[in-house]
Amino acid sequence: MEDSLDMMINLAREKGASYAEARYQNDEYESNLLKNGQPEVSTFETRKGISFRVVYDGALGFGSTNQMSRSRLKSLVLKTVATAKSSSRLRKSPLGMGQAEMGQSVVEITPRVPFFSISLESRIELLKEADSAAVRMAEKCSALLAGRYVSLDTLTTERMVINSDGGRVHSRIPRVAVDVMLTAYQDQRGTAQRIFSIGESAGWESVERWDLPTRLESEVKALCSVLSKAEKMDAGTYDVILGQEVVGIVSHESAGHPGEADRILGREGAQAGETYLGQSDLGRQVGSEVVNVVDDPTIPKSFGFYLHDEEGVKARRRYLIKEGKVNEFLQNRETAYFMGTQSNAASRSVAFNREPIVRMANTFVEPKDHSFEELKEDIQQGVYIKNFMEWNIDDRRFNQRYVGLEAYKIENGELKGLVKNPILEITTPALWSAVDAVGNDLQFSAAYCGKGDPMQGIPVWTGGPHMRLRNVRLGGSA
């Protein structure tokens, strides 16, 4: 394979490309789905092919194919170069590849328990066991689990990236994820829903550690409490503690996305949008001094794990917000070139046939020293929003809304009864500026971040510790 990729790069250079990059990617999926306790179709798939990028006369071309004979690959190179050449006439500012620390290594994560060692029967049996535990817990809570959807996906990605600037990296990374959707129903109270995901870059040992039946039991117990006990709350100004899951989505949506350099440059303008931040906003105060938001692909077992990005650049931790100030943008080599800086290895692609673009990996608020008890002890009137269902944010990443699911009143430092769907609808700087204390209990959730055209849903972790906001307006329940 390496020979084929080298051949493609050499051919493109011979044809006049100033930069060439070839990537072989093989994704092996297996997916199992249980709906209302019944197995749906189980599937497996091998998505294998080669992508190729060139810069020709300041224009960028991308091509991909799953037909990997040498003649097909040569044809792909020639077509990609020709298309880039055609589009160069609509390129007023020539594009290039910025400086970066190129990798030349092999990264292989070896699962302790390989996926192939777990039979289909065992996988479905585990899902059924978890589903049954959930149903039993709902019955105990006098509720009905009217809708259950539990999926289990394993994925092993092998990549080889070679480019004309000396990058040569090879990786093999396993990933496993469980996605759950639960609908609880009670007469008189209607329905409540909970959706959550767990995912890691590891083998089956992660699934064993997750203990799905116990996790689903506790999720259903909490959901049934929300359904049967949550009371309407009045809109007003409160001190608010955000739970780890909420801090995670806030980190991702309101610090990660705004700091993506391709948005700043307008490259995603027609699809995922732009950002309220501009190139000159490095150093701008957007939050209180206790806020540090980090994106780090190098965390072992993390769902967004990698050590080299799809441009072969060595990965590292990035401080997006440091002491409340915008500290660093997420860069690939294309955006780094335009901004006159270095890539920080944010280039990712979800499959062989997708262009690598600027993406997050694992985005989270860096923990500090408060325990949960300390965060709530001096709140007189407040709300603790543990997790959420509805959320969205505008395409400048400035106005967002997070609607709590499991949420509690706080009175005189104590958690009181459940409140129904508190709504935090707030601007990005107002949210980060309201933070006065950050907890010490970092926790992550798995997610698939959507961006790009064609859409690329890429594995990420979102996370953080508990975090306290002072004097923020919460909209009341509908």
Partner: protein, 443 residues
């Protein structure tokens, strides 16, 4: 091997391994995408793919795979693995046999037009669209142009066989002016003659110009006109959750509402893959059934869910030919036209809002239909029946059934919409909806 031979071989091998029902499809597709931003091309993408999808049942046990390497040995290994997977899977709730053919398909749906994909032509279209927008005064244009050609060969153990070929063109373009003013438009077509990229550029530019210097919008309940890009997004939600799969899994606000009033009487929504020369037309569904025109909502009444053979058996009805091997899905949504013009709808509003685009729709509860979505691009205040200024930074925080039941009228003029936010092609009017709840950030 040719696609038909791949299908025949795969079905034979699957049966030999013990499969009771088999669907094999081979998709040979070529796509060229030109993405642009800041009035220049960002990247040109060439995406070529040849893949074989195999779905098998061993009585009530089912499994599927997608193979991207179609040589004899890979095919044989893939077949062995998928049938074994089905055999070892616990039985599902239902075993519905595949529809029994042979079937005849509409030749016009089978033989769609191929669309141009040469780089020069596509770059010319992009240039025309950018020039169209900047000619209206836009400072920056961004978007994507996609030319797609494919041939799908489908064969089932139920004697269905068809070869469908055709192409599609899609331009999604956004114009940016000063101070957060922007406009968005699309043009989609299944043949070159219907494709109007320059007009899309002009419309986006014109909207951006009209939206200049937007003021902060105020929260409250307003009568609202939802333009085709907004209304088609809502229609995609209705079409998606009309799938019996989502009804069954608690993910639909249409559950238990068959033959009940879910919308205003002036509203009808149809899934119509049989419309020749439209973007979402299709001769057959994923089980080989000839596609049908299905009324989802007729004059406000929920008439049908969307089914494949498995969900149909569970719901004790017949398939609507909307398979999806796992989840049934709409192909090509059509909202029935009204009798009014946009001006006429607007003239009925004393104090309201006109929203031209939206995105990021998320649910608080799929079962109840509580959701919010964010208007983006041009949005206007309406005062005394006329546009009275550009506004920004509002959110629609609503319930899907309430919105559908509050439709006061839809325009006669409709537009085909499909873009990043709207997956299923939708022929959508503008709609007047009463008392739409708009919210905004409090700090």
């Amino acid at each position: 091997m040719k696609p038909q031979e791949v299908c025949q071989r795969a079905i034979k091998l699957c049966k030999e391994e013990g499969a009771t029902d088999v669907v094999v499809s081979v998709n040979d597709s070529n796509e060229t995408m030109i993405r642009f931003s800041n009035n220049q091309i960002t990247i040109s993408d060439l995406l070529n793919e040849l893949a074989c999808n195999i779905f098998v049942k061993v009585q009530g046990r089912s499994a599927g795979t997608n193979l991207m390497d179609l040589n004899q040995s890979t095919l044989k290994a893939g077949v062995k693995k998928v049938v074994k997977m089905a055999k070892t899977s616990p039985p599902g709730e239902i075993w519905a046999r595949l529809p029994q053919g042979p079937f005849s398909y509409n030749p016009q749906l089978l033989n769609g037009s191929k669309v141009p994909s040469d780089a020069k032509k596509l770059v010319d279209w992009v240039q025309g669209a950018i020039d169209g927008g900047t000619g209206e005064g836009a400072e920056r244009m961004a978007g994507s142009l996609i030319a797609h050609n494919s041939t799908v060969t489908l064969m089932t153990s139920g004697d269905a066989f068809g070869v469908s070929q055709g192409g599609s063109l899609e331009m999604s373009i956004r114009a940016f002016g000063k101070d957060q003013a922007s406009g968005h438009s699309v043009s989609i077509a299944s043949r070159e003659g219907d494709f109007k990229p320059e007009e899309a550029g002009i419309e986006a530019g014109r909207l951006a110009k009209m939206a200049a210097a937007p003021a902060m919008g105020g929260a409250g309940e307003f009568d609202a006109i939802l333009g085709p890009m907004v209304f088609s997004d809502l229609m995609n939600q209705v079409g998606r959750v009309a799938s019996a799969f989502y009804i069954d899994s608690g993910m639909s606000f249409l559950k238990d509402k068959l033959d009940l009033k879910v919308a205003a009487e002036n509203f009808s929504l149809i899934d119509d893959p049989t419309l020749v020369d439209t973007y979402g037309s299709a001769p057959f569904d994923a089980e080989g059934l000839p596609t049908e025109r299905t009324k989802i909502v007729e004059n406000g009444l929920l008439r049908s869910y969307l089914h494949n053979s498995t969900t149909a058996q569970k719901f004790k009805t017949k398939s609507t030919a909307n398979a999806g091997l796992i989840a049934p899905h709409p192909f090509n949504l059509v909202v029935e036209p009204g009798k009014e013009s946009l001006d006429s709808l607007m003239s009925r509003i004393d104090n309201g809002i006109y929203v031209t685009n939206s995105w990021y729709l998320r649910y608080q509860n799929y079962g109840t239909g509580d959701f919010s979505t964010i208007p983006r691009d041009a949005m206007f205040l309406i005062k005394n029946g006329k546009i009275a200024g550009s506004i920004k930074e509002l959110r629609i925080s609503e319930n899907m059934i309430r919105v559908l039941q509050s439709i006061q009228g839809v325009t006669q003029e409709r537009k085909w919409i499909k873009w990043w936010e709207v997956d299923t092609p939708t022929l959508s009017p503008s709609a007047l909806v009463s008392k739409v709840r708009f919210t905004r950030s409090s700090q």
